[in-house]
Symmetry: C2
Subunit: 461 residues, 2 copies
């Protein structure tokens, strides 16, 4: 009976097993991290690294396929376009990898594993889009205008210095790489993750301190600066190279896209929301938000930017205030955040674990690579600590520098886009993920050490 | 530049376009249906049929691939297992279809379209799982015990009579089909969709009438009866045929699964919920619900039942009362329903449109098929109207019969499972979907006509 059951089984069953399994391990990592007083994202990421390495050494086919990431789908695409499967495998992988992949595919579960891996990949990409949308939702244009000069200075220094340090470090340690790669690596050092520092400050009861305001303001500004940098750098790579014409074209496209989004977006929203005023509020908010994020993500990609830039812009533009047809916005039963958060909450941990799984630790068994990774981590730490110097003397500058340090999800998203663009290979990807882990791991204890002794009231002098 | 953009573009971009496009058309159908005073599901389904037929005649590759459904993925699986692509195509499709599919795959967007279609397929299957979970969530065991004798009689007659009529009709009109197919078709006639009649009764302001109580009670009971029937019939098919040993084995597995779920499920829930009491309430509810549904759906499939039976059981077992660690359940800010509903709301319309797209209307250009379809629809209508006779004389029996008529989503899910099991071919699938459309379309006006003249107070005599 069991053989026949397997033949006839619902094709969604292996997908459920794979996706739910990944989510389960993500939560295990998250829960363990919290027990140890660490940020959730760190737990999920490290759980992914552990799963990936253990699964690889123990020879689990599913982990092997997940580790190779989008390369498998490139191979399937070549194959479906008419190329012989063996040749497609050799085109995408090195000979040893190709043989291993073909062996897995020809096994009893090979095709099902590919389908499951595809679903995990798609889910994690949707997760990042929802994540950036929610980050955007927290950021309003009027708020951005109110961010003080001090935060602005810290943010700019905190993006420029790590970028320059990272670029120099990459040139010195990896002269064999192209300028494009150096640019991308350097850009990924500039990001700041607002969530992690915010949680530490909250734990210390210092959310209202001067330092907290500077850090959080700078981190918001940093998101925007980082995304602009991503747009420029990835634009340069996609369009061929660091030439004045290319850079200008990318800046032009970005400006055009953002202008169009911020100008036409509200018109479109007002029009469609009036059109669907017969739907109930939750339905209308959910559908409009979903369609709007996806439309801007797709359009961003269409003009050569990253999908997440569109998702972020959608979040900044959209707010509950558009839904006035359903009565006083303050008294709405559900907010846009309430409706999109469940999607994000399920999908984002899958992204973090997948990123961890794709870290090929074995590529670090090499002194050159190890030196390179250490150099990047050093540049990442020094660059952000220096940004604290841009704060006024009245602030605890060291605390601000430490608070800007954790890269968290944003640095990771940079790395994953670099991988998708084919700029960042296995080794560099592993180095960037380790940089994210180390900076995220170091920031909370350092921040606590510097701020912990003082009481919140001492901070205002 | 645009060529390079296409090469380097984010692989999620075409997926976003395809999935969001499908959802957009679903909402267009839903909105149009509501404007015409029709149920949402009908609008989505008919929109799918229109999209599918128009796309097919206009030669849209994406629609063509979606229409073929899981067959494409079977072909890719055969291919990845080592079979030559051309041979895999010929194995799965007829020669004309195989040639067309290969032509699309070898086109510039072929592989991307396959990936998009795979995502649409996976999303729609997840949608059905969440749908059945939410139906289960509305159904509590204690409530089921309270359902009156009258509702019970109506439900049983309303499942048995359409089943018998459907079986006889299938034997008479389609003697060429196997017993398995007849059984499946007959079973799919037994379903009732509670949502559609509930909305009509609400519109008429008669939710508190005697008839409404009987109909809604019977419909809940019907869900459970229908799922048991599905378990038995699909079990018989999977295990080989209508033999006493098979039927007993299936009944045994079903009983074992349900007993285990209702006995071990609560123990498991209490244990894990205590374990995660450090998470915040929304996170805990979302993760526990998600993992629990998926675990039961997978286990159901593992013992040979449909995944949706597991999802439904999960809904019946789970309730907010388990989350007592976070304080008074009545005052929780979010319910399980609040958290899962956004997932369901986005994914279910994709399922309905996809089902509509997969209706191959051209298979009806044949008198034999047309007669067969009409016969099924007749059996479906008569069978349910007769169920009203099982109500007491005090009730408006015709109204109850009409209220039991709409098949909605449940009948559709039956058909899609039959398709997955390989029992229901293109023609029968189209016939079942048409049966769903016709019964769903007819019920509201008939119900209004019978009940509309009386005032609600007249109903109690």
């Amino acid at each position: 009976m069991s053989v026949e059951l397997l033949v006839h089984q619902d094709p969604i069953a292996p997908v459920i097993l794979g996706v739910t399994g990944i989510l389960f391990f993500a939560l295990l990592g998250r829960y363990t991290a919290r027990k140890l007083g660490q940020p959730s994202v760190l737990g999920e990421l490290i759980m992914g690294v552990v799963l990936g390495s253990m699964g690889y050494y123990l020879g689990f086919d599913f982990i092997y396929i997940l580790r190779e990431g989008a390369a498998i789908f490139d191979m399937v695409s070549l194959n479906l376009s008419g190329m012989d499967l063996h040749q497609a495998a050799v085109t995408v992988f090195d000979p040893v990898g190709a043989e291993k992949i073909l062996l897995i595919l020809h096994g009893p579960n090979g095709p099902a594993l590919t389908q499951v891996a595809h679903t995990v990949d798609v889910f994690s990409r949707y997760g990042v889009i929802f994540l950036l949308f929610l980050v955007g939702l927290q950021t309003s244009v009027s708020e951005m205008r109110e961010i003080g000069l001090e935060s602005g200075r810290v943010a700019i220094v905190g993006v420029v210095v790590p970028f320059v340090l990272g670029f120099v470090m990459a040139r010195l340690l990896m002269p064999e790489l192209s300028l494009n790669v150096d640019l991308f690596i350097a850009a990924s050092l500039g990001a700041t993750s607002i969530g992690i520092s915010a949680r530490v400050l909250e734990d210390l009861g210092m959310m209202n301190s001067r330092e907290a305001h500077v850090i959080l303001g700078a981190a918001v500004f940093d998101d925007v600066l980082g995304l602009i940098m991503l747009a420029v750098v990835s634009g340069i790579i996609v369009s061929g190279g660091l030439e004045v014409v290319n850079v200008l074209a990318i800046l032009g496209w970005s400006a055009l896209f953002l202008t169009a989004a911020f100008w036409l977006g509200p018109l479109f929203l007002n029009y469609t929301i009036r059109l669907v005023h017969r739907l109930d509020l939750a339905e209308a908010k959910l559908f409009i938000s979903f369609l709007f994020v996806m439309a801007l993500a797709w359009l961003a990609n269409f003009v050569g930017l990253a999908t997440i830039i569109g998702a972020f812009a959608a979040g900044v533009i959209l707010h509950d205030g558009y839904f006035v047809h359903w009565g006083d916005v303050q008294r709405h039963k559900v907010s846009i955040r309430d409706l999109i958060a469940p999607l994000e909450t399920i999908l984002v941990p899958i992204f973090f674990v997948l990123m961890g799984i794709q870290v090929k630790l074995e590529s670090f068994f090499d002194l050159h690579v190890l030196g390179m990774g250490s150099g990047l981590i050093l540049a990442a730490i020094v660059g952000k600590v220096v940004s604290g110097l841009a704060a006024s003397r009245a602030s605890n500058r060291l605390a601000i520098g430490f608070g800007m340090m954790p890269r968290g999800e944003v640095g990771l998203i940079f790395a994953s886009i670099g991988k998708t663009l084919g700029v960042i290979g296995d080794t560099l990807f592993a180095a960037v993920v380790l940089m994210v882990i180390v900076t995220t791991l170091l920031a909370p204890p350092l921040l606590k050490a510097v701020l912990g002794q003082k009481t919140p009231n001492d901070m205002d002098d």
